[in-house]
Amino acid sequence: MTAMAGGVLRHPLGLLRPPSVWTVAAVAIAGLVAVPLLAVVFSLATPAREVWSHLLRTQLVELMINTILLLTGVGLGVLVLGTALAWLVVHYQFPGRSIFEWALMLPLAVPAYVIGFAFLGLLDFAGPIQTALRELFGLGFRLPDLRSAWGVTVAMTLVFYPYVYTLARAAFLEQAPGTLETARALGRGQFGAFVQVTLPMARPSLVAGVSLALMEALADFGTVATFGYRTLTEAIYRVWYGMFDRIAATQLAAVLLGFTFLLILVERALRGRARFTQVRNHGRPFAPIRLAGPRAAAATGACTAVLILAFGIPVGQLLVWAVHTLARTGLPTDFGPQLKNSLWLAAVTATAACVMAVVLAYATRLHPTRGVALSARFAATGYALPGAVIAVGVLLPMAWLDRVLGDTLWETFGINAGLVLTGSAVGLVFAYLVRFLAVSFQAVEASLSKVPRNLDEAARSLGIGTGRTLGQVHLPLIRRGLLAALALVFVDVMKEMPATLLLRPFGLNTLAVGVWQFTSESLWEDAAVPALAIVAAGLAPVVFAMRWMARDRKGLPA
């Protein structure tokens, strides 16, 4: 029975077990995500020389420089702001802290392009603030032009800092209080301990947070377009819509993809060998230092200021505008259908994304082989792909399929089917799934990993198979994580603009499209109505998801 081959025991049982249904499903999901990626990469196989040289001569260099500038600025900004806020909220006690703890994540409910145009409208030359300042200081007074690199950078920093904030906060909470106290006992002051102990230990989370923010910045279209700032993403649209040049757009998408991969590589390198899993919190929870007097006021003031800037002012401005618009012309005629479309697209995508996330996470748990782990990681990289790239990558195979389908149906049945896929929302939902699967997967996977493995084994030893264990043991235990995943994907789809603009079938508009249609003509006041609807619809799920994440501090089960 023992097979010895060269001194090493061969595995006689190894051939026997067929791949389980979970493995197959996981690989299939990864394959689905791979489709747009491969489509874009393959499009490079037919390089259009003239297109390339034209791009190089005209704009590619400028685009790349702008993109790099933006990434650097936003990266630094969110790192400093997010880390500082997280540090404040975790280590100190000051008035309002328990509210700020979750409220500082509120900007997540507001799309970047909304904050962008809110600030532009407010601070623009013709806007209320500059007008008032001119009355005070004379007609020659003007603020520096917002439509510039630093304007976009500040706007994006205010929007994307929650990514760093959330992850930094979680990382700080996970650190056993003993390490910090040890550092203090060894003579480091508070700031010294922070820099030398807390920050390095939190490095993986900080790197992950910054890279998430940067990927969002890379992928963003609405904000850069509103600010007139030319990045790669913005160029893809201009080229696609303005010049109907699909080929050039695809080439630009490939360059954008290159940037994304570079980001991922840098992130990996910076993360080092530290794993991103949680360690169980030992013993007593963290005891924050109580602040008093001017320092407490400063802390509360800082948090309030950020919230006002990132959330209060934009939303307030939106409200003012919306009221004006409603009073003036009532609801825009498209508003009803747009709202309906946004809601059902978000609901369908969120449900599908959660089902896929559960399959992926469970498959990884059951069969932690390299193939499955790789599939899961790959499926989650869709988040890094800018919506524009995904849209392009989805359109190519779908258009091809449509042609094939159409030809077959015509030849076999004589039916003129038209554009079955590209003419429907299938491509759009597909693109959403590719993009947002990572969000649901992360939430579900984090919850699932908290369920001890021996519960699985206990169930199996009692005669319950893998499927029933999922239903009877795991799903009830990860209920909250699932709801958070649903909420997060729902909000993300509601806010999504780039892919929607490119992929939507004619006549299918969402609220985000509505915002774009107005802001592209600088009609801020009209844009405020659909923008507010997006924020409102996203607010409840975001607050829920934030409260769920905040519960982690108490170490409650997921």
Binding site: M1, T2, A3, V8, L9, H11, P12, L13, L16, R17, P452, N454, L455, E457, A458, A459, R460, S461, L462, G463, I464, G465, Q472, V473, P476, L477, P557
Partner: protein, 353 residues
């Protein structure tokens, strides 16, 4: 027919790591309680997981009730093996009540039959009043009993217990050990229990298997394990042991503490090491004695003395609690051994006697 057979089972976790389980062969009859004993990392938990089906063996076969569960060309998943498991940390489902936990494995029964069986089992473990509680509302001992009840509810022929008492405090441990063993005997369930606690092994087991680095060094009755350890490892791991060099002569085995009969039939001229337990050695204070007391441990029920012999070797002697001698006392040491156990001298390759 044996209930469980492990035939030359081997398991390695990674190619560059040593074997976790090394050609293990084990046979267990129905109704027996076998305890696998050994230090951490010896492979006892891996063995348990191989039997349950949570791991696949790299070689060998696992046979339960005459049916091959894991072997060349065959693999039966854990849910089909009918083997109950009690985990070290109980692994109770936190979202289910005690009754729902216990009834979890009874999905083949209909509602009324299931309720009846759950009630019956809960009564057996004395938790009939706790049916609607949740696990986090129970004490450690109660959780342990729920874990046992849950594993026993489907009336499995074989139950595996992984250090089930190690998370309980000492007095609770004794009580639960007795309860659980009674329960197992009354239901006629065959059990394999894994522990690193030798007292537990000796108290509970019909048979004790001592494991070391994946190998089964000895499988025997508890008394035999203690009095006739098969290898030096077993001798050192189970109970306290000192070793004195000895030489086999025609008159017997000559050691510093006297000559002993050559009961094991060793060859004349062979160098051996003689195993001595503290209860084998006594001493008498003597001003001209050549040995001396160098340390004393008061252990409540006994005094454990460390004696340095003229050769420099250290032996221990267990004396009654009230027999006090200060360190430094010169003594005459004697050995009275009923069962002499010897091993080949360490310089030679080891072989079980």
């Amino acid at each position: 027919m044996e209930l469980l057979e492990l035939l030359e089972v081997s398991k390695r976790y990674a190619a560059d790591q040593p074997l976790a389980v090394d050609r293990l062969t084990l046979r267990v009859e129905q109704g027996e309680l076998v305890v696998l004993l050994g230090p951490s990392g010896c492979g006892k938990t891996t063995t348990l997981r191989l039997i349950a089906g949570f791991e696949t063996p790299d070689a060998g076969a696992v046979v339960i009730r005459g049916e091959v569960m894991a072997g060349p060309g065959r693999w039966v998943p854990p849910e089909k093996r009918g083997v109950g498991v009690v985990f070290q940390d109980y692994a109770l489902f936190p979202h289910l009540t005690v009754a729902e936990n216990v009834g979890f494995g009874l999905q083949n029964l209909d509602g009324a039959a299931r309720k009846k069986r759950v009630a019956q089992i809960l009564e057996l473990v004395g938790l009939e009043d706790f049916a609607d509680r949740y696990p986090h509302e129970l004490s450690g001992g109660q959780q342990q009993r729920v874990a046992v009840a849950r594993a026993l509810a489907p009336a499995p022929a074989l139950i595996l217990l992984d250090e089930p008492f190690s998370n309980l405090d000492a007095d609770l441990r004794d009580q639960l050990r007795a309860e659980v063993t009674n329960l197992l005997r009354n239901t006629g369930t065959t059990a394999i229990l894994v522990t690193h606690d030798q007292e537990e092994a000796f108290t509970l087991a019909d048979w004790v298997g001592v494991l070391n680095q994946g190998r089964l060094e000895q499988l025997d009755r508890p008394e035999e394990i203690y009095h006739h350890p098969a290898t030096r490892f077993v001798a050192e791991f189970v109970g306290a042991a000192d070793f004195l060099p000895g030489l086999v002569t025609a008159e017997g085995i000559v050691t510093e503490l006297g000559v002993f009969p050559n009961a094991e039939g060793r060859e004349v001229g062979e160098k051996v090491e003689v195993m001595l337990r503290p209860d084998d050695i006594t001493f008498v204070p003597a001003p001209d004695g050549e040995s001396a007391i160098i340390r004393r441990h008061f252990r409540g029920s006994e005094n454990l003395y460390g004696l340095r012999l003229p050769s420099g070797h250290l032996v221990h002697s267990s004396q009654p609690s009230s027999a006090f001698f200060p360190t430094g006392t010169r003594v005459q040491a004697e050995a009275h051994v009923i069962h002499l156990v010897t091993f080949p001298s360490s310089a030679h390759p080891r072989s079980p006697s």
